[in-house]
Amino acid sequence: MTDLSVHPVPGQQPPDLPKLPDLRGRRAYADGGFRVATLAAGALILVILGLIVITMSSRARHVFAHTGFGFFTGRRWAPNAEVYGALSFIYGTLLTSAIAVLIAVPVSLGIALFTTQVAPPWLRRILVGLTDLVAVVPSVVFGLWGIIVLGPRLQGWFRAVHGWVDGIPVLDRIFGPVLGSRSFLAAGIILAVMITPIISSVSREVIDTTPQTDRDGALALGATRWEMITGAVLPHSMGGIVGAVMLGLGRAMGETIAAALVIGNAATITINIFSSGDSLPSVIATQWGEADEVKRSALIAMGLTLFVLTVLVNLAATAIVNRGMRRMQGS
């Protein structure tokens, strides 16, 4: 076999190469331009985020001057008595998002795995189209459906569930007395319906990137379809799936109108998921119009809180993914 290498071999003269035109000048120019353009685009995000944080903090300072740190720890929200505590809304945001993710993730993964691994191609095409269609339904439509169709039916269900668990410790507190259909759980269910298409679409794309060789290999080793999925598909796509869940969680935490319509709009902290409550975006949306100075500043502070909360949740999730990835890929 002849040596085709053009690299200089020690102790040997490099072969004479034909002179090529130097294209670097133009290329360097294009590279530089591209670099500047992408840098600007990247920096723009930071600038926008920075400006948002700065303006919101400065607008929110009234309420912090008024209430101090008690804004985050106070449970009582009574603008007409000048008491501004956002804790119940922070709680409501976290609780409804958690319920939504808890419901949406298994369903979304099921949809994603079915469409990619199980369904015949013709069904797959239809399902993909439908899930993407659900993803673009405006949230107010879900909200209206929630109060007009889902809510009244849920109330009966809630009553029944409360009846089943009555007397069982803890459970009869979580599935507590029903006061109406508008509740943390109703909001969580609506949010779950809203984020399912996003999570399943993104997961589907990620799962689709599993190399066919990996899957074939697993099957060739005698794995069942289930073992192939858990052994080859899921480890490969774990990072992407968690990313998809984060996208969904972000949407659930920030969802405004649908939540505002079905959550019940009451400042409450309780583990009873049948109780009405409120979430940060819902309070901002419903109270903004008639809000005066300090109250308006309190609402902006809630926006800031939501922003920080989303960032924290995302950071935590990224950390979990990174640890999980190392473990799964290491095995």
Binding site: R76, W77, A78, P79, N80, A81, I147, I148, P152, L179, G180, R182, A260, L261, G264, N265, A266, A267, T268, S275, S276, T286, Q287, W288, G289, E290, A291, D292, R296
Partner: protein, 414 residues
């Protein structure tokens, strides 16, 4: 209509309250209207004490001009003369003006303003008016920043906020609206309630429809042993504000039954149901047997909900009607800057729960055209627009207040 400008050399005269009271004189009879009662609330002063107008010289001239303008515009202008006790508003026949006006603010008179603007478009296509809602607070802050030409507001400007405005402004009351205590009880067509019982119901202290306190007020009605479901607004709202102000005024004093205070948002007891907007409230009441809630008459009428008769200050049970609300405004204490609270007013035929709304506009407009356009629009609201308001289930202003409002419109100049 043209503002007459007097070239006054009297540079030391500042606009004082007396000037404003003088405009409450009925232009025809020259009889002073009943002196405004001053004990109404803390919004009596027009200027914040210590707030010096930026352009004192111009203002002085203006003030002198304004007094004359009122006489001229009301006496000799196109507004047909009417005795101050006439029920019918004056006919609107101002010369069409061209221009563009933008307003924002209170949503509760939004339907009325939108219809009035549509009607005006048919009369005078050269005047383009836009009214975006957004809530009273937004309207006020938009006007402070001069983003809009006029602002709709359901509440009065707090004394400490006066200095945030770019100049002197006037309150122009436009319409009133009864707030209905609507309920959903099969077979119950009439229901009498006192402020005390309403307060107890909305604080979930009375929880069943056959409570002795309700039965006692309604001896002829068979009340079911159903639980009461309280429906209230989810969003911050002027309706909640006025409803709670009524309860506070009626039974919310020291040691009174009503303890939630007043405001656009209250700390409702757990278990009350929240509806988004008047539409959300009416939907909830309709869907929930045994429900009771408060909403404006227009939405209650559209939804076919029945409203309770409420005991007024004189001890008479009055049904929520447009006439009874106008009667309430006639009995309300009106401050000299035309701020007032129409709820819990004097008068045997006054319905005690109602909302009022104003348009705020700067007295000094950037140019004469703008001022004329504003006066044109506002005059329409207070003249032919009042009949339109009735069609839309708003209550028109009583004659006396309407004339005073027209006088305030005439203060707007350039």
């Amino acid at each position: 209509m043209r503002t007459v400008r007097l070239d006054s050399n009297d540079q030391t005269r500042r606009p004082r309250r007396n000037d404003r009271i003088s405009r409450l004189v009925d232009p025809l009879s020259q009889n002073p209207l009943p002196a405004p009662r001053m004990e109404h609330n803390d919004v009596k002063t027009f200027h914040t004490p210590g707030h010096t107008p930026r352009n004192t010289a111009g203002r002085t001239k203006l003030a002198a001009a304004l007094v004359a303008a009122v006489a001229v515009t009301l006496g000799g202008s196109g507004i047909a003369a009417s005795a101050s006790d006439a029920a019918e508003p004056p006919v609107f026949d101002l010369e069409p003006v061209a221009g563009e006006l933008v307003g924002s603010g209170a949503t509760f008179p939004g339907v009325f303003y939108a219809e009035a603007i549509a009607e005006l478009e048919g009369i005078n296509g050269d005047l383009v008016i836009e009214y975006g809602g957004g809530g009273s607070s937004k309207g006020r802050s938009d006007l402070q920043q001069s983003l809009v030409d006029f602002a709709g507001t359901d509440g009065v400007v707090k004394a400490e906020d006066y200095e945030k405005f770019a100049g002197e402004f006037v309150y122009i009351p436009t319409v009133l609206a009864p707030i209905v205590v609507a309920y959903n009880l099969d077979g119950v067509d009439t229901l009498n309630l006192t402020p005390t019982v309403i307060a107890q119901i909305f604080q979930t202290e009375i929880t069943s429809w056959d409570d002795p306190a309700i039965v006692e007020l309604n001896p002829d009605v068979t009340l079911p042993a159903e639980p009461i479901v309280v429906v209230r607004r989810a969003d911050g709202s002027g309706t909640t504000d006025n409803f709670s102000k009524f309860l506070k005024a009626a039974v919310g004093g020291e040691g009174g039954v009503w303890t939630l205070g007043s405001g656009s948002e209250l700390e409702w007891p757990a278990g009350t149901q929240a509806g988004d907007g008047s539409g959300g409230v009416s939907q909830l009441i309709k869907d929930t047997p045994g429900a009771i809630g408060y909403l404006d008459l227009a939405d209650a009428t559209v939804s076919g909900l029945s409203g309770a008769s409420v005991e007024n200050k004189e001890g008479v049970f009055v049904a929520p009607t447009i006439e009874a609300t106008t009667a309430a405004a006639a009995g309300a204490e009106i401050a000299d800057d035309l701020t007032f609270f129409v709820g819990w007013a004097d008068g045997a035929d006054a319905y005690p729960i109602a909302a009022q709304t104003w348009i705020l506009a700067y007295v000094e407009q950037p140019d004469a055209e703008q001022a004329a356009a504003l006066r044109y629009f506002l005059t329409y609201l207070l003249t032919d627009g009042q009949a339109l308001a009735v069609e839309l289930n708003y209550a028109p202003l009583p004659a006396e207040l309407r004339d005073a409002a027209l006088a305030n419109v005439a203060l707007i100049g350039a």
